[in-house]
Assembly symmetry: C2
Homo-oligomer: 247 residues x 2
Amino acid sequence: TLGVVHLVGAGPGDAELITMRGLRLLRSADVVVYDQLVGAELLTYARPDARLVCVGKHGHGAFTPQQDIDALLIAEARAGRRVVRLKGGDPFVFGRGGEEMAALRAAGVRCEVVPGVSSAVAAPAAAGIPLTHRALASGFAVVTGHECGEGTRLDWSALARVPTLVVLMGLRALPNIVGRLAAHGLDLDTPAAVVSRGTLPDQRVVTGTLATIADLAAAADLAQPATLVIGEVVRLRDAGRLTTGQR
Amino acid sequence: TLGVVHLVGAGPGDAELITMRGLRLLRSADVVVYDQLVGAELLTYARPDARLVCVGKHGHGAFTPQQDIDALLIAEARAGRRVVRLKGGDPFVFGRGGEEMAALRAAGVRCEVVPGVSSAVAAPAAAGIPLTHRALASGFAVVTGHECGEGTRLDWSALARVPTLVVLMGLRALPNIVGRLAAHGLDLDTPAAVVSRGTLPDQRVVTGTLATIADLAAAADLAQPATLVIGEVVRLRDAGRLTTGQR
């Protein structure tokens, strides 16, 4: 039999936000290779005899080197197994899915991508913040906090001028982000929010402005992962409460 | 009994790309209010006795005015019914979900948002194009083609400088988009792709460059909806073939 690797988006945190297709593949997989961001509840859907392999923490300390992950996926597929590579959010949004796809293709291994609900959209939504709005925002940009430190390659002048800016894993670099956007002319009164553990039962949201959000987030001692949203759309949350993401 | 409106993302086209939670709510809804972009297959999951209401074509000719949709949702919820408002992609990404949420809240109607897989991510993925890549793109921006015509409020100077630009419903405005990006300095050799009917069985993909994509897309006579991707990540598709989104 010929093996296959499915790159599957696990969604933003709430296990029920995986796609039907992702769940079906997870249920039938021989091997599940998953990131730390994937919730334990989702793994209970795997077959009792499936091999489960955690390949480490995302954005923290220890993690499995990418080449080791690639080698594992290739070896399991070549042994004829059905492999699900389960990634938090969407595999192609800062998920290194492109790299794994390229490595698998180069090795002649069949590879299929199953998109997932990205935290970039879902975490703000779970906080009652739409990324776009007819009157307030006609588009949005998404970057990762890992690219916001020293040696950033992002064009901050451009990012300071998009209607809504979303920063995934944006908690640690928050002071950097605020400083760069302000230096490029973004108004200090621009509304901002940090959504900690969006869609999960322990979700927390802190809102403020570009001027205040870093201090407010630090004072709140928010847990990872966290999604930062900057733009007028944040005001829509403050207009009232919204039930979402809870069962 | 107290009614409720669930704003549910139906996903990018392939019915299997709805979330578990979205499907569960769809199956139990008394009333399903859906857009034209929602596939017929998904509606077969509704209860046989559920009331199904189509509120018109998205981006084409006739459609139900937004205030009529709001009034329908409010009336059904106030009658104690469980309403699913099913929207193509994600409700908060150019889905007018923010407006409907605000209208429902103002009317005192309980409202819950269930995020969906956005075509902005899934259509490129189904064509083998990751939106981000460690070497090629450290972020992306998403806009809608409906905002790219005369009277555009978008900052094209900023959009010309994001690593990856995605334009939803970008087919009709393609010549405008190309012209504006080129006028703001984006290299004419920048790779570009149009993904027509992404994730659906009749998906088609045309690739070229900023200089050629408008003519190539016109010659291919692509069907709506179509997602435009501009950036170096498009090269990753041309590196080989990828199976995705098909059952």
